[in-house]
Amino acid sequence: MMALETNINNLVRLQAVPPDWPGGFWGHWVFFTVVIIGFVLTMVMGVIYIERRGMGRMQSRLGPNRTGPFGLLQPVADAIKVLLKENIVPTAADKLVHWLAPVVAFAPALMIFAVIPFQNGAMLADLNIGILYVVAISSVSTVGVFMAGWGSSNKYSLLGAMRNVAAVVSYEIPLVLAIVGVVLIAGSLSLNQIVLAQDIPFILLQPLGFFLFFAAGCAEINRSPFDLMEADSEIVAGFHTEYSGMKFAMFYLVEYAEAIAISAIITTLFLSGWRGPLLPPWLWFIIKVLLVFFAMVWTRTTLPRIRIDQLMAFSWKFLLPLAVINLLVTALEVLASPAGLPWVVVIINLAIMAILILLWSKFFFKLGWGRIEV
C-alpha cells in the first residue's frame, strides 16, 4: 500500500498536477480525460463544418446549408446517418483485424491530446518528455491503418495502406528533425515549457522548421497534396474502402482528430500555443488551431496530388536535407547566444529560409523528383 502511494505520489509530481486541484490526481485525470474527449469530438465537428463550408466558398458553391442555422448541424446529421448505417464486413476479410483496425487507429489520435496545453498548465499530463511522447504515439495510428488495409482483403485498401506506411516512415524523420530545432531553442521537451519559452513565437525564430513541420505533418495525416493513401481518384478511398457505418465513422474521426492534433502541435510548437493578448488563453489556442487547420483546407482545395515516387523524393531529397541544415543553423545560433535568441535572429532566419528554399529547390530539380523534362 505504501509502495503504491509512493508511486502515485511520484507520478503526481512527475506530471505536475497543480497541488490545489480538487480531487487530487484522480480528479485531475477524470476532468481532463472528459475535456479531451469532448474537445476532440466537438472540434472534429467544428473542423468538418469549416472544411466543408470553406471548401464550398473556395469552389464557388455553398456547401451544406440546410441542416440547422447556416448548416451548423450538418456534422451532427452526418454522424447520425453514419452511425445508423449497416455495418458491412467483406466475406474474405480478416474479421478480427478488420474490426480492431479503427480502434487501434483512433486511440493514439486521442492520446496525443494528453500532453497538449490548453492554457498554462491545463493539460492531462505535463510530461517532461511531452514532445517525444507525441512523436511516439502519433506513429501508432499507422498500425491501425495498415491493419485496415490488410484486414479488408481489398486491393485498393492494401495499396492505400502500403502508401501510408511508406509515407509515414519517410516523413517521420523531417518531422522530428523540425521539432528538434524548437526543442533546442526552448531548452525543454515539455510542451508547456515550450509555450512558456515563446516570447517570440517560434514561427519567427524557426520559419524553415515551421514549413518543414507543416509539410511533413500534412503528409503524416494524409492531407492534400500528400493524400495519396486515400486518393479518391486513384484508389477509391484507400485503406477505408471496405468500411461502413460506425467503423467508417471511426476512421473519419481519426482523420480529423489527427488533423486537429497536428494543428494543435503546430500551434504549440510554433505559434506560441495558448499565449495571446486580451482573449482567454484556451480561446487563443482554439483560434490558432483552427487557423492552422484552415491552411490545410486551403492547400487541399488548391493543389493537385503528387505521385508516390515524388512523395518519397520530396521527403528524402528536400525535407530531410533542409531539416538537417535547419537543425545545424539553430544549434549554432543557440550556441552563440545561450541567454536566449534576440529579435535579430528572426531576420537572419527568415533570410536563411528564403535562400535555402530557393537554392535547394534548384538543386532538388537537378536531383530529380519525378518531373520529366520533355
Binding site: 464557388s60 495499396l159 493543389l303 496530388r305 518531373r371 520529366i372
Partner: protein
C-alpha cells in the same frame, strides 16, 4: 532464398471515381507499376446502331444525343450532315451559322468537363472541376434557351435546326463570349504552371506522332502529339471554311500537352463563335424536308471534329424510311486503342491521369 512475387491484378471499375462512367480496366500491377492493362467495354451498350435500323431518319436524332452525352450538339450535327449528304439536302445559311455556333459552344462545354475531370484525376480536389462547371452552366443555359433541354438537346434536324434562335439568345451569347476569355485565363492562373501538375503530367503517357497516327487517334489526342490535323480545316464541313482560327498542337504528346491543347481550343472556339455571330444572316432555319425522308439508294460518310475527335456517321440507304445500316465512328473508343502502350511502365496514379487525359465518354464507346 529469392523473394517470391506475383502480379497483382486490379480491376479498376466499372464503378470507380475516375473511369468517367462505367468503364473497366483490368490492370496487372507490379507493386505500384502498371505491367499491363486490358480495357473492358460494354457496360453501357444499348445497341444504338441496331436501334437506328428500325427508326426513321428523324427518329434517330434523339439516339445520337445519347452517344457522347457530353457533346450532344456535335452528335446531332454529324448525323444530320450524314443524312443531308445521303439525301442531297441543302441547308439554309442561317441554320448553318446556328449549327456552327452550337457546335462550338458545345465544344467549349465538353472541354470544360474534360479539363476539369483531368485536373480532378490529378488530385486537385474538385476546385478546377467546379470552376469549370460554373462556366459550363452558362453554356447549358444558352442551350436551354434554344432547345428547352440541358443535356440531350435534340436540337438539330435534317435540313436545319428545329427552331430559330429566340430573341434573347444572341445578347446572352455575346455576354458569354465577352466574359469567357477571362475565365479561361483564370483556369490557367489556377494550375497551368503549378509545379505539382507539371511534375505529374509532363512527360507522362507519351503518345508519339507515329503511334498516334497508326492507332487512328483523333481530335485533341492526335493534335497533342504534334499532328496538325483538324477536320474543320482539313476537310471543312458545313461553313467552317469561312472562319479564321488556328489549330493548337502539342509538341510531345504527353498528358500536359493534351491538357494544353484543350484549353487553347476553347479560345479558338470562342474566335469562331465571334465571327459566326458577326456574320449570321436572317432567313429560314430549316430546309423543306419531307417528314419521312427517303434518301436514294447509296451510302454516305460524314464526319465532324467533335470534342473527342473524328465523329463520323456511315449511313447506307435502301430508299426506305429507315437507314439500312447506321455505323458510328466513335472517337472515344478508337482513341483508347493506344492506351495500353501509353500506360505500360507507369504507376497507378499515372494510369488514372493518362486515361483522364484521353477524355472519353462511355456512352460513345459502348453505344
Amino acid at each position: 532464398m529469392a523473394l517470391k512475387t506475383e502480379p497483382f491484378v486490379l480491376n479498376l471499375g466499372p464503378v470507380h471515381p475516375s473511369t468517367h462512367g462505367v468503364f473497366r480496366m483490368r490492370a496487372t500491377l507490379d507493386g505500384e507499376v502498371v505491367v499491363d492493362i486490358e480495357p473492358i467495354f460494354g457496360y453501357l451498350h444499348r445497341g444504338v446502331e441496331k436501334l437506328a435500323e428500325q427508326r426513321t431518319y428523324t427518329g434517330i436524332i434523339p439516339l445520337t444525343d445519347r452517344l457522347d452525352y457530353i457533346s450532344a450538339m456535335n452528335n446531332n450535327f454529324a448525323y444530320c450532315l450524314a443524312v443531308e449528304k445521303l439525301a442531297g439536302i441543302k441547308v439554309p445559311e442561317r441554320a448553318e451559322y446556328i449549327r456552327v455556333i452550337m457546335a462550338e459552344l458545345q465544344r467549349i462545354a465538353a472541354f470544360l468537363i474534360a479539363v476539369g475531370a483531368f485536373l480532378n484525376d490529378c488530385g486537385a480536389y474538385f476546385t478546377p472541376f467546379l470552376y469549370m462547371f460554373r462556366e459550363r452552366e452558362k453554356i447549358v443555359d444558352l442551350f436551354e434557351m434554344v432547345s428547352g433541354q440541358r443535356l440531350t438537346y435534340n436540337y438539330m434536324r435534317v435540313g436545319g435546326v428545329s427552331q430559330d434562335l429566340p430573341e434573347e439568345f444572341l445578347p446572352a451569347l455575346r455576354k458569354f463570349v465577352d466574359e469567357m476569355p477571362r475565365f479561361i485565363d483564370e483556369y490557367d492562373r489556377l494550375l497551368m504552371q503549378n509545379e505539382i501538375l507539371l511534375a505529374r503530367a509532363k512527360g507522362v503517357g507519351i503518345l508519339t506522332k507515329e503511334q498516334a497516327i497508326n492507332a487512328s487517334a483523333s481530335g485533341p489526342v492526335l493534335r497533342a502529339s504534334g499532328v496538325k490535323w483538324d477536320i474543320r480545316k482539313a476537310d471543312p464541313y458545313s461553313i467552317y471554311d469561312r472562319f479564321e482560327f488556328d489549330i493548337p498542337t502539342g509538341t510531345v504528346g504527353d498528358c500536359y500537352d493534351r491538357y494544353r491543347v484543350r484549353v487553347e481550343e476553347m479560345r479558338q472556339s470562342l474566335r469562331i463563335i465571334k465571327q459566326a455571330m458577326a456574320q449570321i444572316p436572317s432567313g429560314p432555319v430549316r430546309a423543306e424536308v419531307p417528314h419521312l425522308i427517303r434518301p436514294p439508294v447509296g451510302e454516305a460518310y460524314a464526319r465532324i471534329e467533335s470534342p473527342k475527335g473524328e465523329l463520323g456517321f456511315y449511313l447506307v440507304s435502301d430508299n426506305s424510311i429507315a437507314p439500312y445500316r447506321c455505323h458510328i465512328r466513335p472517337p472515344s473508343l478508337i482513341n483508347l486503342t493506344a492506351l495500353r502502350e501509353m500506360v505500360r511502365g507507369w504507376k497507378v496514379a499515372d494510369l488514372i491521369i493518362i486515361f483522364g487525359s484521353i477524355d472519353i465518354t462511355v456512352g460513345e464507346i459502348d453505344r
